[in-house]
């Protein structure tokens, strides 16, 4: 492996340790699954927000699309049930297709805007989309889709239950890792340089002869695809139903923003660190002072922005610059 890809090692170690702890220490799998979800969410969101500096407040809509993609795959292709798991693959393909299509539609309009205007434009996206589904009664409207029985028919009861309690989380782990790998590949290629340049100064990047629109769209679609597959794996396969108010719930977007900022926007390890810190603190807060875990968002965001705007990993990277450890931290 070439030197420039070394920083993937700490990522592999982090996910491996998480997996082994969950697998071998009894009673921890539930927590590990939650942490994996947050890491994957951060990892996917970081590709867009971290690398371009644009904040997408409608991000959860892509996860919602992915969830619907899997739900439609399972309910519409149930006639293929003798092929079993093939239907899950179809579900993932649909999830990818639908989140890509939505991201192209949103990106074509919103990515023409910059900074705060982009953020404001995207706030409307998931709310608007949710009301469109409910109002126009698309895909069963507000009643949602429940596909527990189809899933049981396809895989058999035991396999379906193993899927929702274990294999779906493993898929989330794979998605988190693939998103991290993509981030590193981007960072080490011309795409990453273009994104860094446009994040620092979009006008200057244009003057350099960088087609900024192209790279913004690449990052946006890639990030949306990971969100879609995350929705399909973590939401549709773990809990085999989909209701519009749940999958278009804006607080997942806010959690994604917190995780990315906490860990360090635009860093490779940031989402892992952010996901773990956020997930663990939320978990214990909900045990010790139930009901307040959502209230903690505001102070966390303020503390991050004031004290360490570069995030945990961003700070760590500056401290370890020019040392051996520094080579692994980006």
């Amino acid at each position: 492996m070439r030197k420039k890809y070394l920083p993937i090692i700490p990522v592999i170690i982090a996910y491996l340790v998480l997996f082994l702890v969950g697998k071998n220490v009894s009673g921890t799998w539930q927590l590990v699954a939650t942490l994996l979800f947050y890491c994957a969410l951060g990892q996917a969101f970081n590709i867009f927000m971290g690398m371009t500096g644009y904040v997408d407040f409608g991000y959860v809509a892509f996860m919602g699309m992915g969830t619907y993609g899997m739900a439609l795959g399972i309910t519409r292709f149930v006639f293929l049930q003798e092929y079993g798991a093939v239907i899950i693959v179809i579900g993932f393909l649909l999830a990818l297709l639908m989140s890509t299509l939505l991201s192209i539609a949103v990106g074509a309009v919103a990515l023409r805007l910059r900074g705060a205007y982009f953020a404001i434009a995207t706030i409307g996206v998931n709310e608007g989309f949710r009301f469109l589904i409910e109002g126009a009664r698309i895909w069963n409207g507000s009643e949602g889709i429940i596909f527990m029985s189809q899933l049981n028919d396809i895989l058999g009861r035991d396999a379906a239950s193993a899927l929702s309690t274990f294999w779906a989380d493993v898929m989330v782990l794979v998605i988190a890792f693939l998103a991290a790998l993509t981030t590193l590949l981007f960072m080490r290629s011309k795409i990453g340089y273009a994104l860094t340049a446009l994040r620092e100064d979009e006008d200057a990047a244009k003057v350099m002869g960088i087609n900024v629109t192209k790279y913004k769209i690449i990052a946006f679609i890639t990030s949306a695809c990971f969100a879609g597959s995350l929705g399909a794996a973590s939401w549709a396969l773990k809990t085999p139903y989909v209701f519009p108010p749940e999958v278009f719930e804006i607080h997942y977007t806010i959690e994604a923003i917190i995780i990315v900022l906490l860990g360090g926007a635009g860093t490779l390890l940031g989402p892992v660190a952010g996901g773990l810190i956020y997930g663990i603190s939320k978990y214990y807060l909900s045990i010790f002072i139930p009901g307040f875990q959502l209230l903690i968002f505001a102070p966390i965001i303020i503390v991050i922005i004031v004290l360490f705007p570069q995030g945990v990993v961003g700070m760590l990277r500056d401290y370890t610059k020019n040392t051996v450890v520094g080579r692994f931290i980006v």
């Binding site: 340089y193 273009a194 340049a197 006008d203 200057a204 003057v207 350099m208 002869g209 960088i210 087609n211």
Partner: protein, 235 residues
């Protein structure tokens, strides 16, 4: 080398350019002068494509490039040093310059360009590891110009390179512009507020007013005409 014919553009509903005409000859410095709000920067931005042209023509090396997207113009050898210091503050000087070599063509001659930039601005070589945001104003301006040179341009458009610089540095900036013409053989389109220095450096002068080019001529002619100087240049 570059010809602008009856170009029109603006922002939103407001038209700024009212059909200016301009010709920049190969290997020469063409100066564009005029009072604030005359549309000089808009003219450069429209030629470069960062402001969309509404009408008219931009002809570069005999080819119509009016509607060509900005990144393709850079590939064709056009470069713009924008007004104000648009650099990447958190990247080092070296990284900033490397970003200039982003287009494939420019990457091929990156080492040669880097040597050229360092010989033009030895100061940047000394500070190549420093973050660009921590440099002084003059040094930052060197980085922006250096970065534009890294794209291997044939024609470079400079938008007020002496803006906000100390008088001594202004002189140095004009020396650099002359060096770029004489040593590198670049074609230069220079927009400046500093009328006297700009006329001295130029091979040909255009004067813009209210969105269009009102006068043009050799520098001596502009210098001698009291009418032009009083009406548009204020000195």
């Amino acid at each position: 080398m570059l010809e602008v014919k009856e170009l029109e553009s603006g922002y939103g509903p407001m038209q700024v350019l009212w059909k200016p005409n301009l010709y920049a000859e190969k290997g020469k410095i063409t100066s564009l002068l005029g009072p604030n709000g005359a549309g000089k920067s808009t003219l450069l931005a429209t030629v470069f494509g960062s402001v969309k042209p509404w009408g008219g023509h931009v002809i570069y090396q005999g080819q119509e490039v009016t509607q060509l997207p900005t990144h393709k113009k850079v590939n064709a050898g056009l470069a713009l040093v924008p007004e104000g210091k648009h650099l990447f503050p958190n990247m080092s000087v070296y990284e900033n310059l490397s970003m200039g070599a982003y287009p494939k063509k420019a990457l091929a001659c990156k080492d040669a360009s880097l040597e050229l930039v360092y010989s033009l601005f030895p100061r940047l070589k000394e500070r190549h590891k420093q973050k660009a945001g921590s440099l002084s104003g003059g040094e930052q301006q060197m980085v922006t110009i250096g970065r534009a040179l890294m794209t291997c341009p044939k024609l470079i458009m400079l938008d007020e390179p002496s803006q906000g610089l100390a008088p001594l540095l202004v002189d140095m900036m004009f020396e650099t512009v002359l060096k770029m013409k004489e040593e590198i053989g670049l074609t230069i389109l220079l927009v400046e507020q500093n009328a006297r220095a700009s006329i001295d450096a130029a091979d040909y002068v255009y004067i813009m007013h209210e969105g269009t080019t009102k006068f043009h001529g050799l520098p001596e002619k502009i210098r001698e005409s009291d009418k032009i100087r009083e009406a548009y240049l204020g000195s």
